[in-house]
Symmetry: D2
Subunit: 159 residues, 4 copies
């Protein structure tokens, strides 16, 4: 097996490990019900259903803005983590664990563009800068019919 194939295998194993942590080990992700559909060093995507307890506006049954902010923060953080892993394929498991544990949101901006109508939603992230210290990510939340609901920009500690 060539070095490139080894790195490719390691990359896929790391993304799987990251997806497992985000899906199964973080209590608040399970409370909301996030599913991680895509996790790569280029882009990330999560989705969730509008369960009744996620509603904010009880008259019109719309998604609570806090769920929107959470979804954008989560997909942005996953993106920052995946981007960092993609740059550190040669690092030891210990080093990777240490770097992952340091990833965290520095700040987050959310723009609420349209009301959160629809039965399910997906959020996507794109890495705009992946520095040694800080990652900058732009995110979007859409309803299932592809309507843009909210925009986000996040700055993350990159390990």
């Amino acid at each position: 097996m060539s070095g490139m194939e080894q790195n490719q295998q390691k990359y896929q194993a790391l993304m799987q490990r990251l997806g497992d942590v985000f899906s199964n080990k973080i209590p608040f992700h399970q409370l909301i019900g996030f599913e991680f559909d895509e996790l790569s060093a280029e882009s990330c995507k999560i989705s969730f259903k509008k369960k009744p307890e996620l509603i904010g506006n009880f008259v019109h049954g719309m998604l609570h803005g806090g769920v929107t902010a959470t979804a954008l923060d989560v997909v942005g953080g996953a993106m920052a983590a995946a981007g960092m892993l993609g740059k550190n394929l040669d690092a030891s498991d210990e080093e990777i664990g240490r770097k992952l544990s340091k990833i965290g949101t520095i700040d987050l901006r959310v723009d609420y563009v349209r009301p959160g109508k629809g039965d399910s939603f997906y959020a996507k992230a794109r890495l705009l800068r992946s520095g040694n210290k800080v990652a900058v990510v732009r995110m979007e939340l859409h309803s299932d019919d592809d309507t843009l609901v909210a925009l986000g920009t996040g700055t993350y500690m990159a390990g």
Copy 2:
């Protein structure tokens, strides 16, 4: 009863109605467990316990950043609503209902200053501008020992 006393009574009734809506009628507030401790035209305060399902970092048991963002958005929105009500004591019930239904977050910035350690948290809001169209609010999240955990700035449709 003087006009001023009537307005004072109406103000208190409106704040009570607002507190009731925010505490009991919004499903996601009940999922998180927000309590509304203070609601006036000058400042607002909410608090909540760190239930296990609100945890993000499972290694250190810290509050999820999405809960932080939600708390800041909620106390900021309550502040925008209370500020608007304080300026509209002469409006009819119908007009007030119409204005309340239009309040919504335009955008939100969250700065994560320190990790969310502690057993319970409180968030406070201060109204910095209350225009006819837009309200600007600054918020802070503290843990129960008064450590500053996060800062927020929100812009809200003011009805």
Copy 3:
């Protein structure tokens, strides 16, 4: 001349008038030296040279972050104005003047992604929401070799 042709003519006249105001009537735009390259209801673009007095970091001769913020705010405001005009082709000149005078930045976020190297820069804006009250715009600043230097998101009063 058909109604559609009339509207098309009016649209072009309005964009020209807007470009003239932004280029020639605003002192700080002339101090920096902004040129308005593109002004339509869909997108806007401005450009400027890195004159010596616009430098911030005197060691490396890089663009001052305040110039970056200004360029993003200006192209975003032009976008909000052009978007509003595009929706109000049937309005009277008086009404259009009244609406234009009310356009203003509510808030602005700037992300500094890379240092401002290069001899000239251009900033582009895209309208993400054009409501009756508020417009949301995303902006980017690039250097002349197309390197992304900064990102912006702005919320504007839409008249």
Copy 4:
């Protein structure tokens, strides 16, 4: 001379050096005309006159929003630098120079609260977090009669 006195002297010398750099070595600061009134590890304050070329709204003669953003960014950056220096009194001159050269704005949020009327303005900054990597600063711009014109929050590389 005691160690504490030596540190006090060094602190004052560093603040003076920082003030000199910000006032005299940065071309764009001189174009706008910023004066540095206060520079300490606790708070910073700058002021400037509304020269005709800093006007945005030519009808009402109000300060351009880009000048507002610049003033907030500059006082926030000075605060981040002063806070960093205050924590590194024992570092060598070389180390301090290295750290200073790395300070830069990561992102900035500006809230435009009231129109920029008045003949002169001052901006103040308060350090809310001074970490090893990132500093978080809140800023305010006031006109000379103490009217709040704009709010800012900035995240800075802390060296």
